[in-house]
């Protein structure tokens, strides 16, 4: 399985993502934002960080990078694309996912472990989990507050596009469990085709017991299992 890890100036989770891909048996390659061509890759991963210093809006300038034209074409053809944190922000700016990520409601940068409920396990990114499973995964962001207009929110809820929600230890969405003010506690969602996932929490930082959690592994094993099933 060949996966592309797209790197922008200011990306800082690119090596974590590279290592996460290796850990589940994939063969990762870094793709610099000025490079072109994603043919031949089985999946494309957009890492977290602060591309272009988050100037203008988080992800807004990275979205104009040459490689993003290829990412958009790749996703439009149904190719699997995973954007984490800044990667999620870039996917929203690029119009591959609906809505936008704005300043956390508490105005503070939030860096801590959160609990996430897996809303769906029938996606290529979550098949290793069970629906309703609660994961412990870290977040680290200042702009993770998911917002969209009312019509869009209704559409993504009705369409079952929400994949992860912030919850408390009982598995319930509460204001206290929501670290950034996201609408309905949305932490991650897929596009209508189900081939593009954006999520603010960092599964690539929850891959080893030594680092406090292995709950993130499932995102990558799910993706590899789904790609293997497609290839066979």
């Amino acid at each position: 399985m060949k996966v592309a890890v797209v790197t922008f100036p200011g990306s800082n989770c690119d090596y974590d993502l590279y290592k996460a891909a290796q850990q589940v048996g994939a063969e990762p390659t870094f793709i610099w934002h000025r490079e072109r061509g994603l043919d031949g890759y089985d999946a494309v991963l957009l890492p977290g960080g602060f591309s272009y210093g988050d100037y203008l809006r988080a992800g807004a300038i990275a979205r104009m990078s040459p490689v993003m034209e290829d990412v958009i074409a790749y996703a439009t053809k149904g190719g699997p694309v995973l954007g984490i944190c800044n990667g999620f922000q870039i996917l929203c700016e690029a119009g591959l996912l609906p809505g936008a990520l704005v300043r956390n409601s508490g105005l503070k940068f939030a860096s801590k472990d959160v609990l996430l409920r897996v809303e769906r396990n029938n996606t290529i990114f979550t098949s290793s989990y069970t629906a309703g499973q609660v994961l412990r995964i870290p977040i680290a962001h200042g702009e993770g507050n998911y917002e969209a207009d009312r019509e869009t929110l209704e559409r993504i809820e009705e369409g079952g596009q929400v994949v992860f929600r912030y919850v408390d230890s009982a598995g319930d969405t509460t204001d206290d469990a929501n670290p950034n003010g996201s609408w309905h506690g949305i932490a991650g969602l897929v596009n209508e085709g189900g081939n593009v996932l954006g999520m603010m929490p960092h599964p690539e930082r929850a891959m080893e017991d030594l680092l406090g959690s292995t709950d993130g592994i499932g995102v990558f094993t799910s993706l590899i299992a789904s790609l293997s099933a497609l290839a066979s």
């Binding site: 203008l56 104009m64 609906p98 936008a100 508490g106 105005l107 917002e147 003010g181």
Partner: protein, 81 residues
């Protein structure tokens, strides 16, 4: 650029509270936007407006969260017309 109506603006809210605590009780709402100053070569003020508008649509404003307006167009001193 300013936050679209109805969108939570946490910065505006924080400033609103600060103004209230300083005694300005009559403040109904505070929204924080941003201004971008662009120096552009154009044939006319109308042409400059059109260029700036295109820039807003393509990059400068996010239509999901922000409304924008182009204003204050003027000719810079020394700029050739």
């Amino acid at each position: 650029m300013k936050p679209r109506p109805g969108l939570l603006d946490p910065q505006g809210k924080a400033i609103h509270h600060a103004l209230n605590s300083l005694g300005w009780d009559g403040v109904a709402d505070v929204r924080v936007g941003k201004a971008i100053y662009i120096d552009v070569a154009a044939e006319s003020q109308q042409a400059a407006l059109e260029v700036a508008d295109a820039m807003c649509r393509k990059l400068l404003a996010n239509p999901v969260t922000e409304d924008y307006e182009v204003s204050g167009i003027s000719e810079l001193e020394g700029a050739g017309a």
